[in-house]
């Protein structure tokens, strides 16, 4: 699988927010609710990862965990790519 780096996923996340006229903070601990990153944005990010790797992500595999910060999103998508 053509795995994306954490930095690359961060770039894509930044793009998702930029399209909404918002900015992704540098801090991985930033709270998703505070930056307005919602389920629509999360789903869009997943599609962008799929488009960049050319492979579908299997969301059934790990079960969705609690995702509250920017770091959680990046961790989750990194893990998902390795399933």
């Amino acid at each position: 699988m053509n795995e994306l780096s954490r930095a690359h996923i961060r770039d894509l996340m930044s793009q998702v927010l930029a399209n909404q006229g918002r900015t992704l903070p540098d801090d991985d601990a930033a709270d998703l609710r505070e930056i307005g990153f919602r389920s629509l944005d999360f789903s869009e990010l997943a599609l962008r990862v799929e488009d960049a790797t050319g492979e579908e992500l299997n969301f059934d595999a790990p079960g969705l965990r609690r995702i509250a910060t920017v770091g959680d999103v990046l961790d989750f998508l990194e893990t998902l790519q390795r399933q």
Binding site: A18, G21, S39, L40, F42, S43, E44, L47, D51
Partner: protein
């Protein structure tokens, strides 16, 4: 000649650059029933005229729409299958011969659900324009044998002063030049056909002296109507809802998308009755295909917006469920199509985590050097649609895709 089909015999026909009249077309020798599969528009017109004169049972289709399995099916159903060779000499006899049904015309539907299916008509049931018409020279860009093709052809066959300029599939991109040369002043096409023409060469289109523009065969959005109105301010611009199943059932001339909500459930003798069941358009029509009496569920989805009933797309593909919220692909498409720097849009649902599906789009910019980027289009939609309906992945295509039916599966 069958009653009602004489009136147009001296109308002018331009096909393959050659000018003649219906009367001057060569007379083919056709068995009955016959399935004529042709790649040449002139052969299709000759077969139509032959049917009008002799009433032989006929199925007419362009060769590209009929595969070997369909040919075998037609021979099983008693047809002699002719073509696609230009001389018509390659005739495959029926597997089981049967008596012909006089006056019967068969259409192959577009087959949006899979294989094309046969719908029975007559020249009478396909002729929906009966009142006296102003003299016109019509463009016919449709594939032979389709419902839309028969609409233009029956008009020219049955009414005086309704001339015809036929566009071959390989001339389609250059039709405005052909139409201007032959003084075409009326043209009928799908929204995709019009968008593609506006996109390729709006200046060439503006040189065609059009007084009547008709759109049909696909959902018609306000943007394409407005663009055509800008180019042809004095012309009559109409959209028609018609299909081989229910005939021409809705005709709207006010230059607006959709039809007035007051037209629903209005019963008038000899006119179709339009109804909505759930979100589906239901039509009871005097122009039904054979065996389709009573209300026909069209499979088309409607939404009432500001007093207009908008036909947004097919029920099985128009609705996108985004995390439990329903989105009409047609309405989102209308928003994108209204962007001043977009020529075309297709909106679909794509599998996505958390939400089940997300709205995504493909678009064609008006000009490649001034194409809007994804962020601009997302903002455009976000200003006009609820969050869950905003397309999140928007792909730019260089050219409007089009099929032989002049539709683009939007």
């Amino acid at each position: 000649m069958t009653t009602g089909t004489r009136a147009g015999l001296d109308n002018r026909i331009v096909v393959g650059g050659h000018v003649s009249t219906w009367r001057e077309l060569p007379e083919p020798v056709l068995p009955s029933p016959a399935a004529v599969l042709t790649a040449r528009p002139a052969d299709a017109l000759a077969a139509a005229r032959h049917h009008a004169g002799h009433g032989t049972e006929l199925l007419l289709a362009s060769a590209g729409r009929v595969d070997q399995a369909m040919r075998d099916e037609l021979r099983e159903a008693g047809f002699t299958v002719i073509g696609p060779e230009p001389d018509g000499g390659h005739a495959a006899p029926p597997v089981r011969a049967r008596p012909a049904e006089p006056g019967r015309l068969w259409l192959l539907t577009s087959g949006s659900t899979g294989r094309p299916k046969r719908v029975g008509h007559t020249l009478e049931s396909l002729t929906t324009v009966r009142g006296v018409q102003p003299a016109r020279t019509w463009l016919c860009p449709y594939a032979p044998g389709t419902y839309a093709w028969w609409q233009v052809v029956t008009l020219s066959l049955t009414q005086p002063d309704q001339h015809l300029v036929v566009v071959d599939a390989d001339e389609l991109d250059e039709w405005p030049a052909l139409a201007a040369a032959h003084r075409v002043d009326a043209a009928s096409g799908t929204p995709t056909f019009w968008r593609r023409t506006l996109h390729r060469d709006g200046a060439a289109l503006a040189r065609v002296p059009l007084r009547q523009l008709t759109l049909g065969g696909e959902p018609v959005d306000q943007a394409v109507l407005d663009q055509l109105r800008e180019l042809f301010p004095a012309a009559r611009i109409s959209w028609i809802y018609a299909s081989s199943e229910v005939g021409a059932s809705i005709v709207v001339h006010d230059g607006r998308a959709g039809f007035p909500v007051e037209w629903l459930d209005r019963r008038m003798p000899g006119r179709p009755t339009l109804s909505v069941d759930g979100e589906e358009l239901v039509i009871t029509s005097p122009h039904h295909g054979a065996g389709l009496d009573g209300p026909v569920r069209t499979g088309d989805r409607v939404q009432v917006v500001d007093g207009r009933v908008l036909i947004t797309g097919r029920l099985d593909s128009d609705e996108i469920n985004v995390g439990g919220s329903k989105v009409s692909a047609g309405l989102v498409r209308g928003v994108l199509a209204a962007h001043p720097r977009l020529a075309w849009a297709r909106v679909t649902g794509r599998r996505a985590p958390l939400l089940g599906r997300m709205v995504v789009a493909e678009v064609v910019p008006t000009t490649s050097d001034d194409a809007p980027d994804e962020a601009e289009l997302v903002r455009w939609c976000a200003d006009r649609l609820p969050d869950h309906a905003v397309p999140r992945r928007i792909r730019l295509l260089p050219e409007i895709p089009v099929k032989e039916t002049l539709k683009s599966d939007v």
